[in-house]
């Protein structure tokens, strides 16, 4: 019996994947993909988070430097809650990726792809429309390119010289919160077109919730902004009459349940996350896939 368990554990380890999650900010990967990531790490997959911007502006009453330090620590906690092994921060200032060279950003992400050699890549979907934080769009564009260029020897040749070889990532998840009204419209079934994919997250929801609650600075700021907007227009949300850890945690849970319900709509799940997915068959012409 003991040897059978050992064999099963060995088999699981042999099948385990390495996942690289690219996120613009500390919140997006949790809200859009946290449940799926937690489900994968729970089955033995190894995950690393690459965080591009430093969240120095997403706070209610902290100076940029304090906000950056605190959100970094909270991002580490959130990552741990999802079973992510390590967080690598690129340290760009939040909201300023529109002024960063796309090639520079691409090459820095490609470096980490070549270094880590992931089997699976999670990136913000740059084609998700009406996303408010365009850092997510810029990061998605750079990461999508990086997945491609990381596989090419003639990109960044010095990396190969120091032993960081090109790498092809076989699976790609594009994630986004469900803002785009056309996110579920069928795109072409042709080659190179990632397909919509919905993943049930009921079993992992508690971990996702723990991760989202760990982002105290960002979540408190969001709650304060809602309250301020309502106050300025003669309205109130009873839950936020007092903004404290308890009310913020409750609001986070409501938001996560709302997101999960939206994504599960029309699918046989109570809670879900939605992606566009390019798997190993991604580059096989549609007519040959069957």
């Amino acid at each position: 019996m003991k040897s059978l368990l050992c064999l099963l554990a060995f088999a699981a380890a042999a099948n385990s994947k390495t996942i690289l999650i690219v996120t613009a900010d500390a919140a997006d990967f949790v809200l859009a993909a946290g449940g799926t990531i937690a489900s994968m790490t729970a089955t033995g997959d190894r995950a690393i988070l690459l965080r591009v911007a430093n969240d120095d502006k997403n706070a209610w009453d902290l100076a940029p430097e304090q906000a950056a330090a605190r959100t970094s620590a909270e991002c580490e906690q959130a990552a741990r809650a999802l079973g992510i092994e390590k967080v690598v921060s690129l340290g760009y200032r939040e909201g300023e990726l529109g002024g960063v060279s796309p090639t520079e950003l691409r090459d820095r992400i490609a470096f980490h792809i070549r270094l880590l050699k992931p089997d699976v890549l999670f990136i913000p979907n740059p084609y998700a429309e009406y996303v408010e934080q365009l850092d997510r769009h810029y990061t998605g564009m750079a990461a999508e390119e990086a997945r491609h260029t990381a596989a090419l020897r003639n990109h960044q040749p010095p990396l190969a010289a120091i032993g960081v070889e090109p790498h092809v990532t076989r699976e790609l998840y594009y994630y986004a919160q469900p803002v785009d009204p056309r996110r579920r419209e069928p795109e072409a079934a042709a080659t190179f077109v990632p397909q919509p994919k919905v993943v049930g997250i009921e079993a992992a929801f508690s971990k996702k919730l723990r991760a989202a609650r760990a982002l105290k600075t960002i979540q408190t700021a969001a709650a304060m902004r809602i309250r301020q907007r309502l106050e300025s227009t003669g309205r109130r949300l009873p839950l936020l009459d007092t903004v404290n850890e308890e009310s913020v945690n409750k609001l986070v849970e409501i938001e996560l349940r709302g997101l999960a319900t939206l994504c599960a709509k029309d699918f046989p799940y109570k809670m879900a996350e939605e992606f566009h997915y390019a798997g190993p068959e991604y580059q096989v012409p549609a007519k040959l896939r069957r």
Binding site: L31, D56, K57, N58, A59, W60, D61, L62, A63, P64, A67, G95, E96, G98, G99, E129, Y130, E132, Q133, L134, Q177, P178, V179, P181, R182, A222, R225, I226, R229, L230, E231, T233, G234, R235, R236, L237, P238, L239, L251, I254, E255, L256, R257, G258, L259, A260, L262
Partner: protein, 304 residues
């Protein structure tokens, strides 16, 4: 057969009228556009501007480019003429003022996004608009670099203006953070799958008349006599003529044709949406950026 049914269903869905937009409660609006005439063109927003003003709003127009290439003259002349005509157009619509940012017309691809955005953030914090009328950053196939750049800068500015750590130097000036709660976005709807409206704004004939008058104020770029000559020639080549244009000079005919087109497009958008006159927009409301909370907030927010 299934394909036919799906096609028919798609046609019915495409024909479904858009929800009618209400004018949000508020006092101030900003029109943030790349060019002097974008707010009044056929796909523009002159009707909504007139409607907001009639509802008691004060409005200002932020014109990002200097429009130096738009018109029949050299760069400096076009810049000045288009500025004057913009002032005339916004006065017709009832707006309070105009800011020309002066970025070089049709050369805005290399304009630093963060600099342009900072200018817009400053003006948002100064005026604290309840509504912004902008260009849709998600429109496809827009070949105009100024449209793309301004749309993106505006999309970022409307929410980043609400963050204290964004340009804290503004706070030193006594300006407070301000997040814009309502946006009405426009782009060409005939450019492929890109911009797709989600609301229709009902207009009266008086709104359309003001929109047409404001549109006509841009005489430097519209109502060219050559356009009327071309229309007459094309009609003649087909053995046709338009009696309404017979006694008009080419310039008068050009104005009449433009006004007819403006009235036609407002009627067309109205008819498509079960209204007499309309403009269509992509509307983003105050909490649409929080998809997981919109339902909860709708059901639980109460008056103080």
């Amino acid at each position: 057969m299934i394909g036919l049914i799906l096609l028919a269903a798609a046609a019915i869905a495409a024909a479904a009228p858009l929800p009618k937009a209400a004018i949000p409660e508020g006092k101030r609006f900003l029109v943030i556009q790349p060019h002097h005439d974008d707010h009044t063109t056929d796909y523009g927003m002159g009707g909504l501007i007139a409607k907001l003003v009639d509802a008691g709003y004060d409005g200002w127009f932020i014109r990002a480019s200097n429009d130096e290439k738009d018109g029949a003259w050299g760069y400096p002349h076009n810049d000045m003429i288009n500025q004057r005509e913009s002032e005339a157009a916004i006065a017709i619509l009832g707006m309070k003022g105009l800011y020309s940012l002066g970025w070089r017309n049709d050369y805005m691809d290399p304009t630093p996004l963060l600099e342009l955005r900072a200018q817009i953030i400053l003006l948002i914090r100064k005026h604290r608009p309840d509504v912004v009328l902008g260009h849709d950053p998600w429109g496809h196939y827009d070949r105009n670099p100024d449209h793309r750049k301004v749309a993106r800068a505006c999309a970022e500015a409307v929410w980043m203006a609400g963050l204290r750590n964004v340009h804290p130097e503004h706070i030193e000036l006594g300006l407070e953070p301000w997040r814009v709660p309502h946006q009405f976005l426009k782009a060409r709807v005939d450019y492929g799958r890109g911009h797709e409206a989600n609301v229709a704004v009902e207009l009266t004939q008086a709104h359309v008349a003001r929109k047409m008058k404001a549109y006509s104020a841009h005489r430097n770029v519209y109502a060219h006599p050559s356009m009327a000559r071309s229309v007459r020639q094309q009609l003649a080549a087909r053995g046709l003529k338009a009696p309404e244009l017979d006694r008009k000079t080419d310039e008068e005919a050009a104005v009449a044709i433009e006004e007819w087109h403006m009235d036609w497009i407002s009627r067309k958008r109205g008819t498509e949406n079960g209204l007499r006159y309309a403009e269509i927009f992509y509307y983003l409301g105050e909490f649409d950026h929080l998809p997981g909370l919109t339902g909860y907030l709708r059901d639980n927010v109460v008056k103080r």
